[in-house]
Symmetry: C3
Amino acid sequence: MSHTILITGGACSGKSRFAEELALSHGGPLCYLATAQAYDDEMTERIARHRSRRGGVWQTIEEPLLLPQTLARIDGEHRAILVDCVTIWLSNLLLSCDGTQPETEEYVMANLHRLSATLREMTTPVILVTNEVGMGIVPDNPLARLFRDVAGQSNQLLAAVADELHVVISGIPLQLKGRAS
Amino acid sequence: MSHTILITGGACSGKSRFAEELALSHGGPLCYLATAQAYDDEMTERIARHRSRRGGVWQTIEEPLLLPQTLARIDGEHRAILVDCVTIWLSNLLLSCDGTQPETEEYVMANLHRLSATLREMTTPVILVTNEVGMGIVPDNPLARLFRDVAGQSNQLLAAVADELHVVISGIPLQLKGRAS
Amino acid sequence: MSHTILITGGACSGKSRFAEELALSHGGPLCYLATAQAYDDEMTERIARHRSRRGGVWQTIEEPLLLPQTLARIDGEHRAILVDCVTIWLSNLLLSCDGTQPETEEYVMANLHRLSATLREMTTPVILVTNEVGMGIVPDNPLARLFRDVAGQSNQLLAAVADELHVVISGIPLQLKGRAS
């Protein structure tokens, strides 16, 4: 019943644009579920740029933390939901903790399992944008390492539940799972 | 008329070697358009190593900043031109600015659009090497973040104008656009 | 005679899990050749987590430095050998040097060529896990840059000798070399 598409790629690789095209192929109304919060000018500007690219067929909901709960609540109200993006949601969850490592990781993983379970129950198709963050040098800082590990585990977990996985490189998508063949 | 090939990949992934093979398949004379400047011993040594791998069929031109202008000027003089690499050109452009962010980004993007327009007009085939730099942890430093964003946008823009896109991983190329099929 | 499989991917991308599945398809007994040393609690915990996922069919050998020598010594004793991972071995080699750059790089490259030669001679199939570390921003620190270059060259060299190359993204493998077809 549920249909989940996961779209991964590096920073500014064209993931969001490709995700929007996939969502638009479902017709409207569409939901844009934004996880980013504008905490500085750089972010405000980036969010505004993304929003201005999207047209009137989109309802925008901003939810930094309660992603599974929000998805469950709005299920059935749109032709498709685009979550942009999972990585910022994970980062918000990490930053909302006091930083004690074992509990932080446990809390984030519990949220991820809840998201995974919610996705299996959805009737509205969900397109999730995520980021590759684990292909650089190991970061010095322990929080960055924890984030990198959690982001990698999240990508594995969501790709396992997803019907399709696409990686976007230089704006060009490559389908890794769910090919029609 | 024009034929543009974009080759992307991580550091030391075998991009340049693959690009050289593609260029050599055109026969000579060939142009190696180098954007790197030897500002320290590490770089001097790296450039010398790359140069020693190439044979006498190559004319080398070093141009850190005026890439579109140089391409337009030498059009028609070689069987193929290899640009190695776009990422260093972007970095040179960024570093040539005084660092005020909105103007810097605008200046770099204007250069990118000029490159893109030039590539469409070229009669000599152009092979461009670029780098994936957006698959690690978000950098702390704002200039590195700006560079990462600009490099991602550059890759998208050039892949859109290119007839072929290849990503090289562990020395093995994977074609993402323009497959003969 | 020899059969080498190289598996690459980012941090926590599911490389080790995929490598273990490939190894298990050979039947037992299997050798898990671990290159990591538990120098802190984070690492101890990570190693224990990986080990607990593997069952009794595995013999574990820990060898941080003498990888080619160990492979040659145990050749013929198992149905397959899983090396997890090459990147940590390279890091151990680098850290075992006093840090004078040209000699360090020479020493590491000599070890890599020895590994490559050993792999060609093996009768037991060898599955090597490695990491993509060159797709982020250029690191500030010279040792990290050297490591990144060496890791990239290692991936190229091992992929050249390997019969199969797979990249794992979000837990999903993509074969880049040695496809059956």
